[in-house]
């Protein structure tokens, strides 16, 4: 399978008052076309920082990467045209209506006005938001808002979709819906999905392949099954055992995942 994302020694150091913080120390990874990659790691491992680099929001301080054939540093504009990104915080103004945000997003992707209006309606239909088009985004439920964030990121039919902790804070029903949505995007549109999570059950259920990061570097990678076999001792091992073996610690108690139903 063709590589859609490949990175070599991708790194980012933040200068801070108390000295430099090496948030990402050198990430090497490959993501294949049409794959759902789970980027798994404890809080502070460097997941968001890696994502912000891959989406051109943050310049790397070391290493290189290509995304869908575009060099991250030399051609950030090329990268932007083919990716969608949903930050953990989302990205909509609570005072603005769903329709206005969707149309503006289309215009930011340089669709002519009439096309942007039509695309907003299409996206709303596809993501079950048609009934909320004239609601302010601040009045949406957590699950509806997440779907809107994703709709915004799909405006230009990106080939790669980056999702940063997409289900954090969602109720179990909405989490299950979102997993379904991500699978559908991959199955129906062949979208490559790069998603970060610190929920082990989410990684297990959704990802074709996992990259486990810890302290800014890749600690292990493989399919969930292969990782369980290798680090947990058997296919029946839980991802929790695997994670513990890889990182030397479990996710903090506050991070343990609710069980999706």
């Amino acid at each position: 399978m063709a590589a859609v994302i490949s990175t070599a020694g991708l790194a980012r150091t933040f200068p801070t008052r108390s000295g430099p913080v090496e948030a990402v120390r050198g990430i090497d990874l490959t993501v294949h076309e049409g794959e759902i990659l789970g980027f798994l790691g404890p809080n502070g491992a460097g997941k968001t920082t890696t994502l912000r680099m891959l989406t051109t929001l943050l310049e790397p301080t070391g290493g290189a990467a290509t995304v869908a054939g575009h060099d991250l540093v030399a051609d950030p504009a090329g990268v932007r045209r083919v990716i969608g990104y949903v930050a953990q915080s989302g990205g909509v103004d609570p005072q603005i209506t769903v329709r206005e945000e969707l149309v503006t997003q289309g215009r930011l992707y340089r669709l002519p006005r009439a096309r942007a209006v039509a695309r907003a309606a299409e996206l709303a239909a596809e993501l079950d938001l048609t009934g909320f088009l004239d609601r302010k985004t601040g009045a949406l439920s957590g699950g509806q808002r997440r779907r809107l964030d994703i709709a915004m990121a799909l405006t230009h039919r990106p080939t790669v979709l980056f999702l940063d902790e997409p289900t954090t804070g969602l109720d179990p029903g909405s989490r299950a819906d979102l997993w379904e949505l991500v699978r559908r995007l991959r199955d129906e549109h062949g979208t490559t999905v790069f998603l970060t999570t610190h929920y082990l059950d989410e990684a297990d259920a959704l990802a074709d392949r996992l990259v486990i990061v810890d302290r800014g570097t890749v600690a292990a990678e493989g399919t969930p099954g292969a990782l369980k076999l290798r680090y947990g001792g058997s296919l029946d091992a839980t991802l929790q055992d695997t994670f513990l073996a890889v990182t030397g610690r479990g996710p903090s108690p506050a991070d343990t995942a609710p069980v999706a139903v």
């Binding site: 933040f14 929001l57 504009a77 045209r81 990104y85 930050a87 953990q88 990205g91 992707y109």
Partner: protein
């Protein structure tokens, strides 16, 4: 593309301003209070320049409006960063310059609108000034807003919280207001204060607008005012755009 993107960003933020009409009017309240309760104190004082005391005071109030209003513009971008709106826009192909220009042109529109209200009120109070001079005054308010709002957005993009932002802006705005002779001309000041005030860019803008208000369009003050305003604007917009392009934190 730059034009298309700027118009788009401008439209978004202008609609945002129009949604809070109360704030739009509230902005003129402070200068209006100065006009009503401070202006009449000056009418019989020897202020040194040509023209009436209103021709000295109103230019100062106009720039005060721009100074305080525009310097706080960056506040909104801190909230937008928290909502993820800034990053959402920065991953689209939209021009980075447009992300800044759309916002600062919105601010310039708002402050020129408020400046018009203020001048209308001043006319009622007794201001008489040539139309061309008044229009030149609005142009300076617009340039001042564009430059200061750019600086403010750049700062807003850098700081982490509104609590960090407020004190920083106060530390800039209060001395700027006092040292630029917004309230009374600096020609009344002792020599050391007059000299010091020449290091504050706004001084040149106030002097230029005061000359415009008495119909003196070709003075040295006017030349310096234009040079400082244009130069400062170019610098501020360049710096602001850079922050929208690289935004490191």
């Amino acid at each position: 593309m730059l034009l298309h993107d700027t118009a788009l960003v401008y439209g978004r933020y202008l609609r945002q301003s129009l949604r809070s009409r109360f704030a739009l009017l509230f902005g003129v309240l402070t200068p209006l209070l100065y006009l009503l309760f401070y202006g009449p104190l000056l009418t019989d004082l020897p202020l040194g320049g040509q023209g009436s005391s209103w021709q000295v005071l109103v230019p100062g109030l106009l720039l005060q409006l721009g100074l305080f209003g525009a310097l706080f513009a960056g506040f909104t971008v801190i909230l937008e960063k928290g909502q993820g709106v800034v990053e959402r826009m920065r991953v689209t192909p939209v021009s980075r310059l447009a992300l800044l220009l759309g916002r600062v042109l919105r601010d310039a529109t708002v402050f020129v609108f408020q400046a018009v209200l203020l001048v209308l009120a001043a006319l009622v109070m007794g201001l008489r000034a040539p139309l061309a001079g008044v229009l030149i005054g609005f142009a300076f308010v617009a340039l001042l807003t564009v430059s200061l709002a750019s600086v403010s957005y750049a700062l807003g993009m850098k700081v982490r919280s509104p609590q960090e932002f407020g004190p920083l802006i106060n530390a800039v705005s209060m001395p700027s207001m006092l040292l630029s002779g917004l309230m009374l001309p600096m020609t009344l000041a002792p020599a050391w204060l007059d000299v010091l005030s020449h290091f504050v860019p706004f001084r040149y803008l106030v002097d230029a607008v005061r000359d415009a208000y008495v119909g003196d369009y070709t003075s040295a003050h006017m030349l310096y005012g234009v040079l400082v305003a244009v130069g400062f604007t170019a610098l501020a917009v360049t710096a602001g755009t850079r922050v929208f392009r690289t935004a490191g934190s």
